[in-house]
């Protein structure tokens, strides 16, 4: 439980920090260009990678409550008893796919580490990519937990994805 709470806080803090950074750097870049006639080369790749990280962190947080975008026929049109088994199959599938991606992605990132390339501003390229295997591993694990909870009949109901 302690580890879980710690992980949640870390995810939340990182995603908020990245968004703040993105806003600040985006505006700073405009000011630099228009008023000081300058630009910093690392801002652009940094914000682009921030998008990648925000995407995966957001997806990780969304899988805490199974908040992913789906075709939602089941929760509106299927009786609860049948629903439980459908949800179990679906969770198992999701977990499997994430594991698959996490596995191959880890392999790629390890190769990248051995190769020792640089992404930008002196950051090693494996470091900026590591969120992909990490993200899918965490999402996969969260669905594995949902599978177990589903078998015990204690799985929380899927939550409607929030919409902007």
């Amino acid at each position: 439980m302690f580890v879980l709470r710690w992980l949640h806080r870390l995810e939340d803090a990182l995603i908020v920090l990245l968004l703040f950074t993105m806003i600040a750097l985006g505006v700073w870049q405009i000011l630099l260009r228009n008023f000081f006639d300058a630009s910093l080369v690392w801002i652009d790749p940094l914000t682009r990678h921030a998008v990648l990280w925000i995407g995966l962190l957001g997806a990780m947080i969304a899988s805490r409550n199974d908040q992913h975008i789906r075709i939602d026929l089941v929760s509106h049109y299927v009786p609860p008893r049948l629903r439980r088994w459908l949800v179990l199959v679906v969770d198992l599938f999701t977990c499997g796919i994430c594991a698959l991606v996490a596995w191959y992605s880890t392999g790629f990132v390890i190769e990248e580490m051995d190769f020792g390339g640089q992404a930008f501003a002196g950051l090693p390229s494996w470091l900026v990519q590591v969120i992909i295997p990490l993200g899918f591993a965490v999402i996969g694990l969260r669905y594995a937990v949902l599978v177990v909870l589903g078998l015990l009949n204690r799985r929380p109901q899927p939550v409607e994805a929030p919409q902007s």
Binding site: V16, L19, V27, A62, I69, F93, L100, Q129, Q163, S164
Partner: protein
């Protein structure tokens, strides 16, 4: 074997599997069948960091969440009521304008019904409109404005089209062009809907309001910090001073300052929570986008669009027939899928086809999003139907019945938009 797996994936999707997992499954299956090492999936997903434009998605969404959390909706309804309430069918027009403006500002649409519907529905009924009419109007206007700047669906269409344009021979698709092209179609929709509202309520005893300069001034004053926002965004983008991603950064900062420091409707303490909530939604969309990029790469690599074209060409000869079939397909899928998911899955398949039938990619983007807008409230799974059902405590069946006339009006608008490309392209080409 492969076919069986594909059927299984579709079945899983219908059973409610997260769409990102289904699309990933499809891409993995495709690459596996072509004996490509699956680490290619990592490379595909990493493409999410390729596009500068994509930065606009989290920033606009965050700004939208802030506006949704503050009392912007109240101010907007007050202002449009003061400005347009005196007209025939004035309150209906107010609803249309306020919804379109709010959806445009917030990029998506679900929040429009939640934030505005709750204000507009009782206001419409109180002004003397029939309840069923009001319900239908509010529910179907919830997605109006999806074609206006800074529409997130148009942005996503543009990003996918730009990615495809590296492999296809096609005219450029600038995000700016898409926004310009969306203007007249959006106005057409508002005009047609207003015309229908005025006609259908012509015998209803709806008292006309007087026009009050004082109230208009007060409403304008009330919105003083938010009124410059469209100017900043539109002016910045269309004058060429800001690219779309920069305009998004300015918008996010501007809204942050306006709601937190000037209006003081959002406390600093609430900010991390709002940021997190908005980024969870963005994460869901970005993940779908990333896996769709992977699927796109596979489809282009395996030359699926060419095969599809060869197949369809034997049945469909001219552009008009193609567009009719396209609209039917889009409406059908739009009723089933979440709009963002629908967009990222369909564009890579349909854009190459449409190009060969001589459809302009910018025009196609407008057709796509106009279709999606209707898909928001088409049964069985139109998202706005469920939000409205929950918000107004009405049965889904009641909402189907209430929205059907509005859907027909928007279908007419869709037909005009589809078969009259000039309407979209006049400002662009």
């Amino acid at each position: 074997m492969i076919a069986l797996a594909a059927v299984l994936l579709i079945l899983l999707a219908l059973m409610g599997a997260p769409l990102f997992a289904v699309i990933l499954g499809a891409a993995a299956l495709g690459f596996y069948a072509m004996e490509t090492p699956l680490s290619v999936l990592h490379i595909n997903l990493y493409q999410l960091s390729d596009s500068v434009v994509l930065m606009a998605l989290p920033l606009f969404t965050f700004a939208g969440f802030l506006l949704g959390e503050a009392r912007t909706a109240d101010r907007m309804v007050r202002l449009s009521q003061a400005a347009f309430g005196w007209m025939r069918g004035g309150m209906a027009f107010v609803a249309l304008i306020a919804c379109a403006a709010f959806t445009a500002l917030t990029g998506g649409s679900g929040v429009t019904i939640v934030a505005l519907g709750g204000l507009l529905f009782p206001a419409l009924v109180k002004a003397g409109y029939r309840e069923r009419f009001s319900l239908g109007l509010v529910t179907s206007s919830g997605s109006l404005g999806l074609l206006l700047v800074p529409s997130v669906p148009l942005l996503i269409y543009g990003i996918i089209a730009q990615q495809l344009s590296q492999q296809l021979d096609m005219p450029s698709v600038r995000i700016l062009d898409l926004y310009l092209a969306g203007l007249f179609p959006a106005l057409l929709m508002v005009a047609l809907l207003y015309g229908w509202c005025a006609w259908t309520t012509r015998h209803d005893p709806v008292p006309r309001q007087g026009f009050d300069w004082g109230e208009l001034r007060a409403a304008l004053g009330d919105m003083r910090w938010e009124l410059p926002l469209p100017l900043v965004v539109l002016g910045g983008i269309f004058s060429g001073v800001l690219v779309v991603s920069e305009a998004a950064a300015v918008t996010a900062l501007y809204v942050l300052v306006a709601e937190v420091l000037l209006y003081r409707e959002i406390r600093w303490r609430q900010l991390p929570g709002i940021m997190r909530e908005s980024m969870v939604m963005v994460g869901g969309i970005l993940l779908i986008l990333a896996v769709a990029l992977a699927l796109t790469d596979f489809l282009v690599y395996a030359d699926v669009p060419s095969d599809l074209f060869a197949f369809i060409r034997t049945h469909v000869e001219d552009r008009i027939t193609f567009l009719i079939l396209l609209n039917l397909l889009l409406l059908l899928l739009g009723a089933m899928l979440d709009i963002f998911a629908a967009l990222v899955i369909r564009v890579p398949l349909i854009l190459p086809l449409a190009l060969r039938y001589g459809v302009d990619p910018v025009h196609l983007g407008i057709i796509f999003v106009a279709n999606m807008q209707i898909g928001y409230f088409t049964p069985p799974v139109g998202m706005n139907l469920f939000i409205a059902s929950y918000r107004f405590r009405r049965s889904i069946g009641e909402l189907y019945a209430a929205t059907i006339p509005f859907m027909l009006v928007l279908l007419i608008a869709l037909l005009l938009i589809t078969y009259w490309p000039t309407l979209s392209l006049v400002l662009v080409r």
